[in-house]
Amino acid sequence: MLTAIVLLLFVPATLMEWLTVLKHSEKKVKVIHIAIMLISFVLLILYSLSVTVPSPSEGITQVIEAIFHLED
């Protein structure tokens, strides 16, 4: 169900962007657009399939805990 929602979001959004905003854009803009959308799409598909994706918050917490030992 969540995967369907992700696909329902990305397919029309990407199509609309290509037909409107990106139609007359430079190649550089299109490459950046595709790259970021692809990263987001992959993350959301993994999330929708209940695959555990490492959270940036956990990484940040571990680094800060290692430096400042806040739980002591």
């Binding site: 959004a13 959308m37 999330y47 959270s55 800060i64």
Partner: protein
């Protein structure tokens, strides 16, 4: 995206709603219960010098946003590296705000709805607002501030009959270390998150006084926070307030005006949404402008939707549950400190040196 510049009052009220945003949803003061009023006041005093630094940076480089200033002062490579850091800070902050709101909606009103559709609706609304320019965000903020602040005032007045002064006792019975830590948390979340507006400074009108923008918004925000805190503490008591994930929402459920007005927590919910949209939009716009600066693009408009999708994805994976979200608040000030304090101070010092050098050059030619 229209190129309209935001006026003084538009930016000021954007900052007010930005600060009001997620901090009022999940509670402003952690760990010091009835002494929260003291930490709010102390944090608001401590942030004044930093706001003056932010204002000075905007004054030194009028009509330029932070990303252009970073390259001017530190050179192309170091400037781009710092730009990447700020893009990360802005996009992850927007992700965290989105997640705060989807958690709130799920926990308070729609427990069986998955968070992803809620996140998607918020992101699409925010992307639409961001694409309409900073001026549109400012106009939205102007109108919604009146509504939001009126609701805060009305709920405060409506709670007066139920106020129990014993909930404020004992006064200042926490250790200085605990109060200092709580002050640092309030200082960082939400006051110095205002650093995001340095990334939007290119969209402000030239005549808008940045010092007044930051300081006036600080006054309004502090008064609002104190009213919210006093309302929550007096209605819930210190223990329940500290145990509650969303104390403002819980406090509003208790408020009853006569026999005809009760269950006004939906107004609090609405307040949160209006403010949250502004906070997410400002972060998203800053991140998009950063990306445009990083890759030397003419406009940030084509990047707004992808950055919104990235914020959505990061928001979805940010935390496992509400407890993790609340626990992260203790670590957030340390993570955010370089972005909110260290780098802006370096930019200010570098900016003063740069401005002096250029003044000498102009005088000698």
């Amino acid at each position: 995206m229209k190129n309209e510049k935001a006026t003084f009052s538009q930016v000021m009220f954007s900052i007010v709603l930005f600060n009001f945003g997620s901090s009022v949803v999940i509670g402003i003061t952690g760990g010091v219960e009835q002494d929260g009023w003291f930490t709010i006041l102390l944090a608001s005093l401590l942030v004044i010098p930093l706001f003056l630094v932010y204002g000075r940076i905007i004054r030194l480089f009028p009509q330029k946003d932070l990303f252009q200033v970073l390259e001017l002062i530190f050179g192309k490579i170091a400037g781009k590296v710092l730009t990447v850091l700020y893009i990360w800070y802005a996009v992850y902050l927007s992700a965290l705000v989105l997640r705060n709101f989807s958690e709130f909606i799920q926990v308070s009103t729609m427990p069986e709805t998955p968070q992803l559709p809620i996140l998607i609706l918020m992101v699409l609304t925010t992307v639409y607002l961001v694409r309409s320019s900073m001026s549109s965000i400012g106009k939205w903020s102007l109108v919604m501030s009146a509504f939001v602040l009126a609701i805060v005032a009305l709920t405060f007045v409506a709670s007066i009959p139920d106020i129990r002064l014993e909930n404020f006792m004992p006064v200042l019975n926490h250790t200085p270390a605990k109060i200092a830590r709580s002050t640092f948390e309030v200082f960082s979340f939400p006051y110095t998150e205002t650093v995001i507006f340095l990334g939007l400074a290119g969209s402000f009108q030239k005549k808008a006084n940045p010092y007044k923008m930051f300081l006036y918004s600080l006054i309004i925000t502090t008064v609002t926070f104190l009213l919210v805190f006093i309302r929550n503490l007096s209605l819930l008591g210190a223990t329940i307030m500290s145990l509650n994930y969303f104390p403002s929402f819980s406090a509003a459920r208790i408020i009853q005006v006569g026999d005809f007005l009760a269950r006004i927590e939906s107004s609090i919910s609405t307040n949160f949404q209006f403010a949250g949209i502004v906070k997410t939009a400002c972060c998203l716009l800053a991140a998009s402008k950063g990306m445009a600066s990083l890759f030397d693009l003419d406009h940030c408009r084509p990047i707004v939707l992808p950055m919104g999708m990235l914020a959505l994805a990061l928001g979805a994976i940010a935390y496992k549950n509400t407890m993790d979200m609340i626990a992260f608040l203790a670590y957030y000030p340390y993570y955010a400190f370089p972005f909110q304090v260290a780098i802006p101070l370096a930019v200010w010092v570098g900016g003063e040196i740069y401005a002096k050098k250029h003044k000498h050059r102009e005088l000698s030619t």
